[in-house]
């Protein structure tokens, strides 16, 4: 049975691209366009993996990630963080560091935009086994 992946991104282009890519590689895809919607779908569908955009309206990726990790029901679900920001020139957005300083478990993988297809697939395969 195909593994279920939830793609959360506020940009429809990104959602289309990622869902096409992952579908082509044999995963079952669910989509959401913001954090609130994403969290609802995680709880409802219990996907095997979440691909989460960092910056989104209505709950940023970070906020959603935190809630996901704090909810014991869903906290075990692995997360791949997708971000368009390089960290060098935007120190305020140095979220990796920020997240690691918190007491919650960090995301299982980080993928930077523009998304390298092979790298993404490799990470997902590694996580899902």
């Amino acid at each position: 049975m195909a593994k279920k992946i939830l793609v959360i991104d506020d940009e429809p282009d990104m959602v289309t691209f990622l869902s096409t890519l992952l579908e082509d590689n044999g995963y079952e895809i669910l989509t959401a366009s913001d954090g609130d919607e994403g969290l609802l779908k995680v709880k409802k569908e219990k996907p095997d993996l979440v691909s989460l955009d960092l910056l989104m309206p209505n709950k940023t990726g970070i906020k959603m990630f935190r809630e996901l990790r704090r909810d014991p029901e869903i906290s075990a679900i692995p997360v791949v963080m997708v971000t368009g920001f390089a960290t060098d020139d935007t120190p305020n957005m140095d979220f990796k560091k920020w997240i690691h300083e918190r007491s919650i478990r960090p995301p299982e993988a980080y993928i930077e935009k523009p998304v390298d297809k092979d790298a993404l697939l490799k990470e997902i395969k590694r996580i899902l086994g």
Binding site: D10, M14, T16, F17, D24, K59, G84, D89, K113, P114
Partner: protein
């Protein structure tokens, strides 16, 4: 031989020993003579007294004999007695007179009584009346005559013979003449003896005292004499202790002491003389002594080296090769008033014009009269040149100080401005005496972290960067302070140099912005690329799997991102290109309405109320509608975006405001959204900044500002985090003249703004 003898005698008679012994002897000799004379004369008078006494005795004997003879009538006895007495040594004559002057008896052989005229006889002229015994020495002193009157005694008057009447008091007189030659001889003998003794004594004393002088005084005197002559030659060195206790030894010791003192003084004098001589000669200036005839009587070595040997020449000839006296001669003045004078002159020395300072001072003789004048001439050409150079440099520094394009002030310990440069005065006015903090910043107290104060403390250069706010504009200033020290190294003042670095700061900021812009741009491009990549993949996937829906979706993605990149490029071009606004007659109200209409739907979607605070038809003006439209669109879009908060319960508002105020158009776009922290609002118009993630280009406000500035307007933002922001635009109001046409001139003017 004779000469030698005379010389010797002369020398001898001049010698001290001769003089002492001679005069001592002479004094004693004369004293002795006076003494002998006195003794002899007293001896003589006592002899005479005795002779007189003896004569009186003898006359008494004769008188008795006469009385007796008269009584006995034996007159022969009287004669015998007279003769007997007259025979005695010394007796010359014995005469007996009666009261009438008839000589009755005499040692002179007379036969009968002889009347003698006695009226001229000094002793016998008053024979009848004088009852006293009296005597007289003959003029040649050889005979003494004694007269003893024969008084009428009772026996005479009462006797029976020829009684003398009682009334006759004096009956006659006995006259004795006694020779004094014996006595005289005796006295003369005594005198001769005395004189001989005196001469002998004189010689003895002469010899003795002469010998004493020779023995005791002469050697000491000779010794002193030798010492003196040695001393005169400067050869005498007193040594050893003079023995002896007499006055000569004392004298020698005093002399030695004196000579020591003299030596000492002489040495001192000599030393100072040499010193002054050296000083005179080696002094690094021309020194001459000028006499009353203006001739050089002495000159020092420096003078001689420069001008040659010029002693006895006139000073004006010696110094200046002139043939007549100089005008305004300081030497003359000094001769006139006895005080020092000074003059500055230009001389020709070695063919060069030389500046010389001449000083004169009087030299007095022992009477306090001005004898000569010391002239001192110092060549100060080098000094003058240096002075000139210094003055030149001072002027250069002054010029630099005044015109250097930064504010220069010199400030004292109490922060009073002592001096400032022209550049300072241009912007702050004349401010000497005012407090620096007052003038620079309008403060009442000194600034915190004042670099002037620091420099007073650490005596070093300090600096600080400061921001001056004047008329709402920030000026960035870098202030350097440097100590101004006096010759002791104490800091007396501080120089403050303030440079306006606003432009530098602005460029610095722009550089940073440029960096950020590039980063932001690459980020945007990255996003777009990522979208393109995705689109390409989706089309590929659709083509491979024969799924048209995917091909369509992919194609939409590609188109969408191509549009985005085209927008971005256009934006960048717009932002970076110098362009002139395309002015058209347009109504501001119309323009604002168009913008609001455009965003009405979006605002509703976001739950934001868009409020139009302007009149639809307000004054027509000249404006670039395209540019201003896009500028305002950006602001409204941003305002709506800023209202997108997590809390959807609260309704937000965006107000678009438009008015004309006198010669300006005022447009405000305000929201009650998230607001911005200060660090963002400060760089808002220059930074490539987007809050919209991949949807924004970050160029919006850059373009907005550019449009406004191109219109000659201003834009600013006031914002508070959590409370919202307001963007205020002021545009110059350009009126339409004659139904829409603009005067060429003013158009030109606008385009230059």
């Amino acid at each position: 031989m004779l000469k030698n003898a005379i010389h010797f005698v002369k020398r001898f008679t001049r010698s001290l020993s001769f003089k002492i012994s001679f005069y001592a002897g002479l004094v004693i000799f004369l004293a002795l003579l006076v003494f002998s004379y006195k003794t002899i004369s007293s001896q003589e008078s006592s002899f005479i007294k005795k002779t007189v006494k003896d004569s009186v005795k003898d006359s008494e004997v004769i008188k008795a004999a006469i009385g007796n003879g008269m009584m006995t009538k034996e007159r022969g006895v009287i004669r015998e007695i007279i003769n007997a007495i007259g025979m005695t040594e010394g007796f010359r004559e014995i005469n007996i007179y009666d009261q009438k002057g008839i000589l009755y008896y005499s040692t002179k052989q007379i036969k009968s009584p002889v009347p003698i005229n006695l009226s001229n006889d000094p002793l016998l002229y008053d024979l009848k009346t004088n009852s006293h015994v009296r005597h007289k020495i003959s003029d040649d002193g050889s005979v003494i005559t004694v007269v003893n009157p024969l008084l009428n005694i009772p026996s005479c008057s009462a006797s029976a013979c020829h009684a003398h009447p009682e009334i006759e008091k004096i009956l006659g007189a006995v006259e004795l003449k006694i020779g004094l030659s014996n006595i005289r001889q005796e006295i003369s003998r005594n005198s001769h003896k005395t004189i001989a003794f005196a001469i002998a004594l004189f010689l003895v004393i002469c010899t003795m005292s002469g010998a004493a002088v020779l023995l005791f005084v002469n050697p000491a005197v000779k010794n002193l004499q030798e010492k003196t002559s040695k001393m005169a030659k400067g050869e005498y060195e007193p040594h050893g202790q003079t023995v002896g206790k007499d006055e000569m030894a004392d004298l020698t010791r005093a002399f030695d002491y004196m000579s020591l003192q003299i030596n000492l003084r002489t040495n001192q004098l000599d030393t100072s003389r040499r010193m002054y001589k050296a000083l005179f000669d080696e002094a690094p200036c021309y020194l001459t002594v000028i006499d009353k005839n203006f001739r050089i009587s002495r000159a020092n070595r420096t003078f001689n080296a420069q001008f040659g040997e010029k002693v006895n020449q006139h000073c004006f000839a010696g110094y200046k090769n002139k043939s007549s006296r100089c005008e305004n001669c300081p030497v003359e003045k000094t001769f006139y008033d006895g005080s020092s004078h000074q003059s500055e002159e230009i001389w020709n020395i070695d063919g060069h014009e030389s500046h010389v300072i001449v000083k004169t001072s009087p030299i007095f003789d022992e009477k306090g009269q001005i004898e000569e004048v010391l002239e001192m001439a110092i060549d100060v050409t080098l000094l003058k040149k240096l002075q000139f150079k210094i003055e030149q440099q001072r002027q250069e520094f002054q010029y630099l100080f005044e015109n250097v394009p930064c504010y220069l002030t010199v400030v004292d310990k109490d922060f009073n401005i002592i001096r400032h440069n022209n550049f300072f005065a241009r912007d702050f006015g004349v401010a000497e005496g005012k407090k620096c903090f007052q003038v620079y910043k309008g403060l009442e107290e000194k600034c915190d972290n004042c670099p002037v104060e620091k420099t007073f403390q650490n005596r070093a250069v300090n600096y600080s960067e400061e921001i001056w706010r004047k008329k709402g504009e920030d000026t960035y200033i870098i202030v350097y302070t440097a100590p101004v020290m006096d010759e002791k190294g104490d800091v007396t003042a501080v120089m403050e140099m303030s440079t306006n670095i606003t432009e530098v700061k602005r460029l610095q900021g722009q550089l940073a912005i440029l960096g950020e812009t590039i980063a932001g741009m690459s980020h945007s491009i990255k996003n777009i690329l990522s979208g393109l990549q995705g689109g390409v993949y989706v089309i590929d996937s659709g083509l491979t799997r024969g799924r048209d829906d995917r091909v369509k979706a992919g194609w939409t993605m590609v188109k969408h991102n191509v549009e985005k990149i085209s927008d971005l490029v256009k934006g960048i071009l717009y932002a970076s290109k110098e362009r002139e606004p395309e002015y058209q007659q347009y109504e501001l109200g119309q323009l604002l309405t168009e913008v609001c209409d455009l965003y009405e739907a979006k605002a509703k979607d976001e739950g934001v109320q868009l409020i139009r605070d302007f009149q639809r038809r307000i004054t027509s003006c000249l404006i670039d509608p395209g540019g201003v439209h896009s500028a305002l669109s950006n602001l409204v879009s941003n305002a709506i975006h800023a209202c997108r908060t997590e809390d959807t319960e609260i309704s937000h508002h965006v107000v678009v405001y438009g008015r004309t105020e006198r010669d300006r158009l005022i447009i405000k776009v305000s929201d009650d959204g998230v607001g911005m922290p200060e660090e963002i609002s400060q760089n808002l118009f220059t930074k490539f900044y987007s809050t919209k993630g991949s949807k924004g280009t970050g160029l919006g406000l850059v373009i907005t500002r550019k449009v406004i500035l191109e219109h000659g307007g201003t834009i600013k933002v006031e914002s508070k985090e959590g409370q919202g922001s307001v963007f205020i635009i002021e545009l110059p109001f350009r009126e339409v003249i004659d139904g829409g046409e603009v005067e060429n001139e003013s158009l030109l003017e606008f385009s230059q703004l």
